[in-house]
């Protein structure tokens, strides 16, 4: 991955790949598809349909090639990053312009949707972004920068109306309110089940680390849960929850029903257990035995040992488990709609039912974005809870004291 710095050939293969992918996307594949209405197949149109904006896109592609052969690793990285953002912005505007032009004398039900070429170019932009990020990929926050900008750019384009005539944007415009509430619903069920998973999983991992019998049971059971297909697990939960809700009215008032958020919430919490329990267990058991021995020998009580030695040293791995769980749950949350939860999955499955690819994308793209954001956010959190003494050693070879004294 570090060709940009290590290779003596002085060009960045990752950036070059990104640029080539973008070039192919722009030159060979249709940029947009024009359809007489939402449901019929369309005809492809090249980038030229965007008029003057096409030249802007070509200009940025040229910049991407330059970024691959820049004079220094730093310059190459800066150029790839600029190229990546530039591409996303230029493609967004070009899409708007192409739609505008193509729909000028068409009926109102006609649609322009994003073509294969545009998608391939976006993939190329992402590759460029990674090439640019390489130099600095140690810093989660900087890694988060490109993603946040990307989301803001796309959301901005959607909201500002620049993409109004693009089919995806039209789906969005129609369902704006629903879309926002679904994103919130998605976040709520994922966050709540992750919190529940952590509240159960961390203590369970702790018990597993302390007690052999608990370990056997906890790791086996959470492992089995992970292998149950999501829909099957939801189905298994619906019936008893329905019965429970029917039998205990105050529980039903709390939302415990066969159909609704309850089965989804429980299923997601269960899925989060394996990564959380296992990482907590591994984190605690891999704490240096000598440190524990020293702590005991110095007169720490069990509690003090746990809070002052074991948990701080296990925290990075525990957080890593929560990160994995967060990404996992963000994806699976789309499926909870089958048991009545309201998440972005609704858009995806409605789209599938109606053969409306843009509707599917309206659900799928934000889900992916949420997963990426969860990933980055939790990584940043993991970094924050990693004790410095451990981090120093892992991240950079620490200066020896001779060196530090000399400096």
């Amino acid at each position: 991955m570090t060709d940009s710095t290590a290779s003596p050939t002085r060009f960045d293969r990752v950036a070059l790949t990104g640029a080539l992918v973008t070039l192919v996307g722009a030159a060979v594949l249709p940029f947009v598809e024009l359809r007489a209405n939402r449901l019929v197949p369309g005809s492809g149109h090249s980038l030229a349909a965007a008029g003057p904006w096409a030249f802007v896109v070509w200009g940025v592609i040229a910049l991407a090639f330059v970024s691959a052969v820049g004079p220094s690793a730093k310059a190459r990285s800066a150029a790839s990053t600029a190229g990546a953002y530039g591409l996303v912005a230029a493609i967004a505007w070009a899409l708007g312009a192409a739609a505008e032009g193509l729909l000028a004398d068409m009926s109102p039900v006609a649609r322009v949707s994003v073509g294969g070429g545009a998608w391939v170019m976006l993939v190329g932009a992402a590759i460029l972004g990674f090439a640019g990020a390489e130099e600095r990929s140690r810093f989660v926050v900087r890694r988060a920068g490109p993603v946040v900008l990307l989301v803001v750019a796309v959301a901005g384009a959607l909201v500002s109306g620049g993409l109004d005539r693009i089919s995806l944007a039209r789906e969005f415009a129609v369902r704006q309110e629903q879309f926002v509430s679904l994103i919130l619903g998605h976040l709520a069920i994922t966050g709540a089940s992750l919190a529940a998973g952590a509240a159960i999983g961390v203590p369970l991992g702790l018990l597993a680390a302390r007690n052999r019998r608990v370990r056997g049971v906890a790791l086996a059971v959470t492992g089995v849960i992970e292998t149950i297909p999501s829909l099957a697990l939801l189905g298994l939960l619906v019936v008893p929850l329905a019965a429970l809700g029917a039998a205990v009215p105050w529980l039903r008032d709390l939302g415990v029903r066969g159909i609704g958020p309850a089965p989804g919430f429980i299923a997601l919490a269960l899925y989060s257990l394996l990564p959380v329990v296992r990482n907590t267990y591994v984190g605690l058991t891999s704490v240096d035995a000598a440190a524990i021995d020293a702590g005991r020998g110095m007169g720490m009580s069990r509690r003090q040992l746990l809070f002052r030695v074991e948990l701080p040293l296990a925290a990075p791995l525990v957080m890593e488990g929560l990160r994995v769980a967060a990404v996992l749950l963000t994806g699976i949350a789309t499926l909870t709609v089958f048991a009545g939860a309201r998440t972005l999955g609704i858009l995806i499955f409605e789209g599938l039912g109606q053969f409306a690819p843009d509707l599917i994308l309206l659900g799928a793209l934000p889900t992916i974005a949420l997963a990426v954001i969860a990933d980055i956010g939790m990584s940043a959190l993991a970094r924050a809870v990693t004790p410095r003494g451990v981090r120093v050693a892992v991240q950079t070879p620490a200066p020896t004291f001779a060196e530090e004294a000399a400096a």
């Binding site: 020293a294 005991r296 020998g297 007169g299 040293l313 451990v390 120093v392 050693a393 004291f401």
Partner: protein, 375 residues
């Protein structure tokens, strides 16, 4: 004071410690030594109750350890574990401050204590206080481990191979420093080691164990001169006479040395030599600058008979052992060597003949005891 009374520890089948009775008087260093698996660590860890004895009694300062809360007992016993066990997530200062924090000391007091202890173990506080364990070399980490054990000023120290992971050169330095610290602090110390030289160097009493049983508990001199049985005799090794030299300070066999100032008149130098052959020549601060060999004086040309030397190479410090002196003399081909005080001034000299006399004295003890009882 630590007393073990008929202490036994059994792990299911294996008897790790078998009827051990041992008393470490206050302010003394007891070194536990023996082959791997003989029960040294088990013995040490029974004192702070990390392991509980199967039978027998252990008293620390007159109190049965089983009658005390383990946490409280341990906070009063400094413990250096074999694998150092510094907390990787805490700085050096925080590592040293662990027990004081458990005891509820005020922050400024803990900080002052950490500085004080780092200086004591020979680490510059300003460069080490905020360092993390992974930034330390093995020897530096060992020192921090010792500082941490000393933090709350416990009267008793339990040290399990504290210098085990250090190269021989640094190990000797740490041993010398330990000796210095112990002369200053007078702790009651139980010190575990594999290294007989280390035991002889540091111990007031050596406890030699084998298969959980005590073989001999005596001063290093007696262990060397009068091994209790063949096991101890073999364990100590064939070079016992040489080892004995480790226990004797150069100042014990030092004799006055003829000295003259290097800018004295040739006649005055010669006169100082008296009947002897050599005169040490000193600079104006009384430190060695060279010597005059009166046998080399031809036609009264005294200047030609003067050899100037590197003062640090050609002397030994007052706290050096006879073994240090001997190896220095053999290395340089000298028949005698000057002993210097802390300021580097010449105090006297140690001769090869004096060392030989000590060694043959040790040989005399050897025959009857070792060969008689051993077989």
């Amino acid at each position: 004071m630590i007393r073990l009374e008929n202490v036994t520890k059994r792990f299911s089948e294996k008897t790790a410690v078998d009827g051990l009775t041992l008393e470490v008087p206050e302010g003394e260093v007891c070194v536990l030594i023996g082959p791997s698996g003989c029960g040294k660590t088990t013995t040490l860890r029974m004192v702070n109750r990390l392991i509980e004895p199967t039978s027998g009694r252990i008293l620390v300062n007159g109190r049965d350890v089983m009658s005390m809360r383990p946490e409280e007992l341990r906070r009063g016993l400094g413990y250096v574990i074999q694998s150092i066990g510094l907390f990787p997530h805490l700085t050096v200062a925080e590592n040293i401050g662990v027990v004081p924090r458990l005891l509820g000391w005020e922050k400024p007091r803990i900080a002052d204590r950490a500085r004080e202890l780092l200086s004591l173990v020979g680490l510059e506080p300003d460069s080490y206080l905020r360092a993390y364990p992974r930034q330390l070399s093995g020897g530096e980490a060992q020192r921090v481990g010792v500082a941490r054990a000393l933090a709350a000023d416990p009267p008793v120290l339990l040290m399990d191979e504290p210098f085990g992971a250090v190269d021989p050169l640094n190990r000797e330095r740490l041993q010398a420093e330990f000796g210095r610290i112990q002369r200053e602090l007078h702790k009651t110390v139980v010190f575990v080691t594999h290294d007989i030289d280390e035991a002889i160097r540091l111990a007031d009493r050596v406890a030699i164990m084998r298969d959980g049983r005590l073989q001999q508990y005596d001063t290093p001199e007696n262990v060397l001169n009068r091994p209790a049985n063949k096991f101890v005799h073999d364990f100590v090794g064939a070079d016992r006479a040489l080892k004995r030299l480790v226990r004797i300070k150069v100042t014990e066999v030092m004799r006055p040395a003829p000295q003259a100032a290097i800018d004295d008149a040739p006649e005055a130098m010669r006169e100082r030599a008296g009947a002897g052959r050599f005169v040490y020549l000193t600079d104006d601060e009384g430190r060695l600058a060279g010597w005059l060999d009166t046998d080399d004086i031809r036609d009264d040309a005294v200047a030609d008979a003067i050899t100037t030397v590197d003062r640090l190479q050609a002397t030994v410090a007052r706290d050096a052992s006879l073994r240090d002196a001997l190896s220095r003399m053999l290395g340089l081909g000298f028949r005698s060597i000057a002993v210097t005080d802390d300021e580097g001034r010449i105090m006297g000299e140690v001769t090869f003949a004096a060392i030989e006399a000590v060694m043959s004295e040790a040989e005399e003890h050897r025959g009857p005891t070792a060969d008689g009882e051993g077989a």
